[in-house]
């Protein structure tokens, strides 16, 4: 076998590889394979019919659109947060740093209920937005707020190691060569960060597409307006429409996979590009 050709200096390749493959198959491939197989009891036309409904398309558009938007919001703000956390020393920095992980640790339902209480017409923020005629809770805007909340740590934590490795010397060299601060940022710092920014965007996006717990509390869940695709899956399950639920899940799976593949490819291309 050709595995032998690339024999590593480290022992235990066969054993660890075997465990890895078994583990991946059990935890990832098997459930996904079931998902891929399940919808076809409806027949190809049935699957198509159950996905091409306007209500389903609207939910998919909302889920993917809001996730893209939320990830896009999180990239600049996440960069700012990561930058401040790494480049400056200030009192309470450790506290602020651990706060960033809160959206990861908090049960999503708790986050959703808290955000709803805040943004509902009677809530602290909702009551301030009322005179401006801005409604957040129970609108697609509320979905965006929830997704920004859950996505932030993914961007910050992806950027931090890369920022940390960014040689300060490069910035100093740029400065001595006469670059202005803006030029240094635009020509030296940001290009080095692009692959990490993309990776953070991808992670936040992936989280946003599948997010359920925090969104259903704040969304309003109106068909065609604020109903996310994962909620439609749950609704179909409750109607005992397992195949229909799996069909919708399969579409989400394929679309998410495609998007992540594209983002990874972009990232790979940029990392390879000579600087």
């Amino acid at each position: 076998m050709s595995f032998r050709a690339s024999r590593s200096a480290l022992p235990g390749f066969a054993l660890t590889m075997g465990i890895t493959l078994t583990w991946l198959s059990l935890i990832v491939v098997l459930p996904l394979a079931l998902l891929v197989l399940r919808p076809w009891t409806l027949g190809v036309a049935g699957v198509w019919h159950s996905i091409a409904e306007p209500r389903v398309l609207a939910a998919l558009r909302l889920s993917f659109g809001a996730a893209v938007l939320a990830a896009a919001v999180n990239v600049p703000f996440g960069l700012l947060v990561a930058w401040v956390m790494l480049r400056y020393r200030f009192p309470g920095r450790n506290l602020a740093d651990s706060l960033i992980d809160m959206p990861l640790a908090l049960p999503t339902a708790v986050a959703g209920i808290a955000l709803t209480a805040l943004f509902a017409p009677k809530g602290w923020i909702g009551i301030l937005l009322m005179p401006l005629d801005i409604k957040v809770a129970y609108t697609p805007l509320g979905i965006l707020v929830a997704l920004v909340f859950v996505g932030l740590p993914f961007v910050v934590r992806t950027l931090e190691p890369v920022l940390m490795d960014l040689p300060l010397e490069a910035e100093e060299a740029a400065a001595t060569l006469g670059a202005s601060r803006a030029q240094t940022l635009r020509r030296v710092v940001l290009p080095a960060l692009v692959p990490a920014l993309l990776a953070g965007f991808a992670a936040a996006l992936a989280r946003g597409i599948g997010e359920y717990g925090s969104v259903i509390f704040i969304a309003g869940n109106m068909p065609m307006i604020s109903e996310i695709a994962p909620l439609l899956i749950v609704i179909r399950l409750e109607q005992l429409d397992y195949a229909g639920a799996a069909a919708l899940a399969l579409v989400m799976l394929l679309a998410s996979f495609g998007i992540l593949l594209l983002l990874n490819w972009l990232q790979w291309r940029m990392a390879r590009r000579p600087s």
């Binding site: 159950s50 409904e53 306007p54 209500r55 709803t116 209480a117 509902a120 017409p121 009677k122 129970y138 259903i216 309003g220 869940n221 109106m222 068909p223 065609m224 109903e227 909620l231 749950v234 609704i235 399950l237 409750e238 109607q239 005992l240 429409d241 229909g244």
Partner: protein, 338 residues
């Protein structure tokens, strides 16, 4: 909640078992699981001990009833997927029909007990804020531009399906009404709905805790419960000119009781719901009892109005397919241009 009760009961049961074993041989303790929908928590918490006592008097054996609550459709799905329910007491017959279609419950389940296997009924009423500031009296008032209506999603909530059918039944009975005009009424009604919760309790929270909406379409018993809990100063109940006879049915789960050998006890439990004693408890919790004497006793609590029944819609199978299935009326009223 249900888990807590289950665990606590299990511990009590286990302790009791040990004590009994330490004493002398005692007949095995039977345990039944009643899988029910959301708003019946308080009702069965009172019915269960009453049945336990009655069962002990009759047979000399102890019996424990555990209860589990959730959205009606969700609970049916849990039973279908293996939750070991001895009896199901759900919000609508369609959910038990779904179990019957898959062989979990006998197909003639609705004929095994009196009154279509529904020991009590309820109806759909309007819960409004104190003093009824928007002047909501009847169904057409719900379409006033400044009135926001709270109802859960009929795809997931049993209560919401009764809400939907009650509104539709009213619209169908207006002079000169057609199918198109009734559907148009439903479309305009749901334009007044700012949020669709998935279950009845979630919708109650939106209305009560979040202060959302002016009218809450609610089970009669939920409306009375909210009024009792928060006082008549906080909410008022409005009885519309026309509503629907909501029949929450009960059944033994054949697949489970045959395996466990608990059919006799499970059947006795459901029959107990029809006794004078249980009917009084049912009335106390603002459901409408079947027993005419008990009903008469509490008559002032149950205003009468003309009501549609599910049979007017051709039964649940027809209603389900026509209104709530994918592509049904509920989907249509949210889809523009069709």
């Amino acid at each position: 909640m249900s888990h807590f009760t289950l665990t606590r009961r299990a511990i009590i049961g286990a302790t009791g078992g040990l004590l009994a074993a330490a004493g002398r041989a005692v007949a095995a303790q039977t345990t039944l699981l009643n899988v029910s929908y959301d708003p019946t928590r308080e009702l069965y918490r009172e019915v269960n001990p009453a049945f336990s006592t009655a069962w002990r008097e009759k047979t000399g054996e102890g019996i424990t009833i555990n209860q589990s609550h959730g959205g009606s459709g969700d609970q049916a799905r849990a039973v279908l997927e293996g939750l070991q329910a001895d009896v199901v007491t759900l919000a609508l017959a369609a959910d038990i029909d779904a179990l019957a279609r898959r062989g979990v419950v006998a197909t003639d389940w609705q004929k095994r007990l009196p009154d279509n296997a529904t020991p009590c009924t309820s109806t759909i009423v309007f819960l409004v804020r104190a003093g009824n500031p928007k002047g909501v009296r009847d169904w057409p008032d719900l379409l006033k531009p400044d009135v926001a209506v709270i109802t859960p999603n009929p795809k997931t909530s049993g209560g919401a399906r009764w809400n939907f059918l009650a509104a539709l039944a009213w619209a169908q009975r207006q002079p000169g009404a057609t199918e198109a005009s009734a559907e148009d009424f439903m479309r305009r009604l749901f334009r007044q709905v700012p949020v669709l919760d998935t279950g009845a309790r979630g919708a109650t929270n939106s209305f009560v805790q979040r202060g959302l909406g002016d009218v809450f379409l609610a089970w009669e018993n939920e409306a009375w419960l909210a009024r009792r809990q928060f006082g008549p100063d906080a909410y008022a109940i409005v009885y519309p000119s026309f509503s629907i006879l909501a029949e929450p049915p009960v059944s033994v789960v054949d697949r489970v009781v045959d395996r466990k050998g608990s059919r006799a006890a499970a059947t006795a439990y459901l029959e107990f719901l029809y006794t004078r004693q249980a009917q009084a408890i049912i009335a106390k919790h603002y459901y409408r009892p079947r027993d005419p004497d008990v009903l008469g006793q509490y008559a002032e609590r149950y205003p009468t109005m003309p009501m549609a029944t599910i049979q007017d819609f051709g039964g649940w199978d027809t209603a389900q397919a026509g209104y709530f299935a994918d592509g049904g009326m509920f989907d249509r009223i949210f889809t523009p241009g069709r």
